[in-house]
């Protein structure tokens, strides 16, 4: 078998896993299963990114999303209110409209993907994509990263301010 065929097979396997795991997020009853189904979906997309020649970003997506879902699981258990596995109940609103919106979005985006006359590939990837990305972030596109960093700092500050119930010098260890 040719390498291209293997890549095709791997892509379809990952694509099917990604979509099915994504659908399972809203189908399963268990909070842990829902969270880790989403993690599986992200890992599958990370593998597809590897197939698309982006070794670094694929690895970063896997790294970030597994970590994020491990934390997400804690929040799921904390904030779910009741345990849907013990007490199965419908926790959805405007279900039909949501299904309609989902199907509509898929038809629209899918039609776009198939009908738009995509241009020819422009240029070829660098021999070392990761190094080129590093050069870009620290060179020609440095402004983007410089702009992101204050956003990140603001997010950290805002997140702490919103979620913390005590003040600056109260360590929470005194009665």
């Amino acid at each position: 078998m040719s390498p291209d065929l293997w890549a095709d097979l791997a892509f379809w396997a990952c694509g099917v896993v990604a979509v099915l795991a994504g659908a399972a997020v809203f189908y399963v009853d268990s909070m842990a299963r829902a969270t880790y189904a989403l993690a599986l979906s992200f890992v599958a997309v990370g593998v597809v990114l590897l197939l698309l020649g982006q070794a670094y970003l694929g690895a970063v997506v896997v790294l970030m999303m597994v970590m994020e879902m491990a934390v997400m699981a804690v929040y799921m258990v904390m904030f779910m209110g009741m345990n849907p596995a013990l007490m199965p109940m419908s926790m959805v609103h405007s279900h039909r409209a949501a299904i309609g919106a989902g199907v509509g979005a898929f038809l629209l985006l899918g039609a776009g993907a198939l009908l738009v006359p995509w241009p020819e590939r422009r240029g070829a990837p660098d021999p070392d994509v990761t190094a080129a990305l590093g050069e870009a972030t620290m060179g020609s596109h440095m402004l983007v990263m410089v702009a992101i960093s204050p956003v990140m700092v603001a997010t950290i500050v805002a997140g702490v301010v919103l979620s913390l119930h005590r003040g600056r010098y109260d360590r929470g260890d005194r009665p």
């Binding site: 659908a23 829902a34 997309v45 597809v48 970003l57 405007s94 979005a105 985006l109 990305l133 020609s140």
Partner: protein, 100 residues
């Protein structure tokens, strides 16, 4: 594996995420829907990068999307914690403080 198939899978991920984000009542589940939508965006960007213009700018754009996702998660968790602590509820339908 051609551009169209990658985009179709991405569209499916986005559509499932949109369904979840619109239909779920619990804040954390809404965030899971948003995450799934961003997952589709990441896949679509990765495909467009590889098949249309494989230069570093597209990769930087992907990094920005990933960063935006972390911001979304952090603020979502913070607001969910605040809602839970202040009002003791976790449903989007009950978060009506801004309506008054």
């Amino acid at each position: 594996m051609i551009l169209e198939t990658v985009l179709l899978v991405a569209a499916a991920l986005f559509a499932v995420g949109l369904y979840g984000a619109l239909s779920q009542q619990v804040v954390v589940m809404v965030m899971m829907g948003l995450e799934l939508m961003i997952n589709g965006v990441i896949l679509a960007l990765g495909g467009l990068w590889w098949f249309l213009a494989p230069d570093p700018s597209g990769q930087v754009l992907l990094l920005v999307v990933v960063a935006a996702m972390t911001v979304e998660m952090a603020m979502g968790f913070a607001v969910a914690t605040l809602l839970h602590r202040q009002a003791g509820h976790d449903m989007t339908d009950m978060a009506t403080e801004l309506r008054r």
